[in-house]
Amino acid sequence: MQLGLIAIGAALAIGLGALATGIAQARIGSAAAGAIAEKPELTGRAILLIAIPETLVILGFAVAAMILVLLRGG
């Protein structure tokens, strides 16, 4: 039971982060595609902007990893 709750907690941490990243990337991605269509030289910056929201899921991963390492270990 306790292990299950730990797993659910870890899944929520990374899942919600991934959801937020997806929402942000959808908006940035469509805007970036429009910008690249007009100015192809912006490709590098567009990739950069699209990759920025991934910090959310990375932080989610960090929290999930902490939950798994610390709680399961404890």
Partner: protein, 637 residues
């Protein structure tokens, strides 16, 4: 690295100005600036009264020759692809086309005419194929028509409007009562196919009637009017089958002729563009009663070469160093050794570094493949990526972009192989199961997550601190004490936080914690104090951002683990279904994983550089150095 630039002024006798400009053009080492409008007390040297007309003529010739060279490429591509219906045209007026490419006009007309005929014949053939579904029409021969005093007309009417046929029918009814038959079938692409069977007299009036009712139609090619519908369909079909061969012959003649003329066009374009550049450059020169002056930027190392070259054409020409305040912002020229050049391109994605700042290409060349390798960390994936990179490098000898991608992939794949050995991974956990030992730690192991996270954070701390050190060095060189203090504060603050974290995981003894906390407190205040009164509000957020930058390196662990688990899924599926199916599915999943491994870690590694590492020191906004000289040929990329 950034090449040091120096501003120069070139003084010469006015009569020698064209020769000096021509030599500068040949040398292609100086970026000219507007000497006439700098504070040098000179008036513009040109262009002269006759120059404007000459400039316009040369510009037109350069454009014409570029269009003709484009036509040569297009014709070669059509012949290679056998795409005979691609429109053939060139935006060069007929008079100039005749002068620059004798015989080309006739060849272009021939191709255009055959393409038009193909299109018309295809439309009529399609229309008749549908109309001949009517048995009465299909059985109507030429003898029957002659016996009955009738004639037929096949029409393809261009009409998006359904009422057009109604209008035609009504007009025919007024002209001939019920003595006609109009069979109609839609043929797609907004056209309608019709066959009119009517007395000769009405058919003769048909064209007048169509013009009067403003009905647009595609004229039937000559020679088919007198045929019965079935006969016309057969003949059109034969013609449709024969046209591609004729088109192929016409395109091949065009491609052959343009290929024959292309070398001459290239030479003429280079000469005309050079003369045009030199005439336009006169407008940038300043003059006094006897002298003319040009100003510009050139790499410091090329000053002596410039002096020697100019002395050959004008012994009296003088090259002096110009006051930097007058010259303005220097342009930027990056010049790195060949192994670093692919990364120079990646740095430029973010905009060129400003003059006087640091060029991080070398650091990127060292760190980017390493970060990629940390994430992929698989012996087999790494070997495949390195092999692909080697192939691209070899095949890209004439295509710089392909060669650069190959170089980056080769280095990144090699690091992936190395980390594959350190992690003991080959196709995910398969290597481990087959006995490949992990030289350091097994990433997929049940108790190794903490080690992996610490490793990723360790790389992050090192990378960010390196960025801050570079930032401090740059601030010191540019004499920006506030920036220097701010970066130093952030540097020691992160060092203190890293030390505290290290004590928490027993990497450092507990006694270090108190002095580390003291350092953090002091450096926090130092870093805030450099930001002024508003720094009290924004400073903590920015410092928190620096901490976020370090945490961002956790993606090295996250992306790597995602790749490991996808490989694990592939391996599990391979053994849990029948053998052949399992191998097939596993191969597909490993291929998908490999594709992701080539793309995602590269984007993440780039992002870690652009956002986290460069934030410590990088200043973009430099303007590329564009030397005055022959225009570069278009890149095959």
């Amino acid at each position: 690295m950034l090449i040091g630039m120096t501003p120069v002024q070139i003084l010469t006798h006015r009569a020698q100005l064209p020769a000096v400009i021509a030599e500068l053009h040949r040398l292609a080492a100086v970026q000219l600036t507007d000497a006439a409008h700098q504070k040098l007390g000179m008036t513009p040297a040109g262009p002269g009264p006759g120059d404007a007309h000459r400039i316009a003529g040369l510009a037109a010739e350069v454009a014409d020759l570029a269009a003709l060279l484009g036509l040569a490429e297009e014709a070669a591509s059509v012949v290679a692809d056998k795409n005979w219906l691609r429109p053939a045209s060139v935006a060069v007026p007929a008079g100039r086309l005749g002068r620059l490419g004798p015989g080309l006009g006739a060849l272009l007309d021939q191709v255009g005419s055959l393409q038009n005929e193909y299109e018309t014949v295809r439309r009529y053939h399609d229309a008749l194929a549908m109309l001949l579904a009517d048995p009465e029409l299909s059985l109507l021969g030429e003898r029957d028509l002659a016996r009955l005093g009738l004639a037929t007309v096949v029409l393809v009417v261009d009409t998006p409007d359904a009422d057009t046929i109604g209008t035609l029918r009504a007009a025919l009814h007024i002209a001939a009562g019920d003595r006609f038959r109009l069979t109609v079938a839609p043929t797609g692409d907004q056209t309608v196919g019709c066959v009119l069977v009517a007395p000769h007299t009405l058919v003769a009036e048909l064209r007048t009637l169509l013009a009067r009712e403003h009905i647009r139609h595609v004229p039937l090619p000559p020679g088919y009017e007198q045929m019965s519908p079935a006969h016309a369909a057969t003949e059109l079909g034969n013609r449709l089958a024969a046209l591609p061969d004729e088109l192929a012959r016409a395109w091949r003649s065009l491609a052959g002729r343009t290929a024959e003329l292309a070398p001459g066009w290239q030479q003429r374009r280079a000469a005309a563009a050079g003369e045009l550049d030199c005439l336009e450059a006169v407008a940038l020169a300043g003059r006094t009663a006897r002298t003319a002056s040009l100003t510009g930027w050139l790499p410091r190392r090329d000053v002596d070469t410039l002096r020697t070259a100019l002395a050959r054409v004008d012994a009296g020409a003088v090259v002096t160093k110009l006051d930097a305040a007058v010259a303005g912002e220097p342009p930027v020229l990056l010049d790195n050794p060949p192994p670093v050049r692919p990364y120079q391109r990646l740095v430029s994605f973010l905009g060129l570094p400003r003059s006087g700042s640091l060029d991080p290409s070398t650091l990127m060349a060292a760190a980017l493949p390493l970060l990629f390798g940390v994430m992929v960390g698989d012996l087999v994936y790494g070997a495949i990526l390195a092999g692909l990179g080697a192939v691209l490098r070899r095949r890209g000898s004439t295509r710089p972009l392909v060669r650069d991608i190959g170089s980056v992939l080769l280095a990144s794949g090699s690091w992936s192989m190395l980390f594959g050995l350190l992690y003991g991974e080959a196709l995910g956990s398969l290597g481990h199961k087959l006995g490949l030992p992990a030289l350091w730690f097994y990433r997929h192991g049940p108790d190794e997550l903490g080690t992996l996270l610490l490793f990723a954070l360790g790389i992050g701390v090192t990378h960010i601190l390196l960025g801050l050190v570079l930032g401090m060095r740059q601030a010191r060189r540019l004499r920006q004490p506030r920036t220097l203090l701010e970066r130093a504060g952030t540097f020691f603050l992160l060092c203190g936080l890293a030390a505290i974290a290290a004590t928490a995981v027993d990497l450092l003894p507990g006694q270090v914690r108190t002095p580390a906390m003291a350092v953090v407190a002091v450096m926090f205040v130092v870093a805030l104090s450099t930001r002024g009164p508003m720094g009290l509000l924004t400073g903590p957020l920015e410092l928190l951002g620096s901490l976020g930058h370090v945490l961002s390196y956790l993606r090295l662990a996250a992306v790597g683990l995602a790749s490991v688990y996808l490989a694990e899924v592939a391996n599990h599926l391979a053994v849990s279904v029948p053998l052949l199916l399992g191998v097939f599915v596993a191969m597909l999943l490993h291929l998908l994983n490999l594709a992701l491994a080539a793309f995602s870690p590269m984007v993440q590694a780039l992002r870690l550089h652009y956002v986290e590492f460069f934030s410590g020191f990088y200043e973009s906004g430099g303007q590329a150095f564009r030397p005055f000289g022959p225009r570069p040929q278009p890149s095959p990329d």
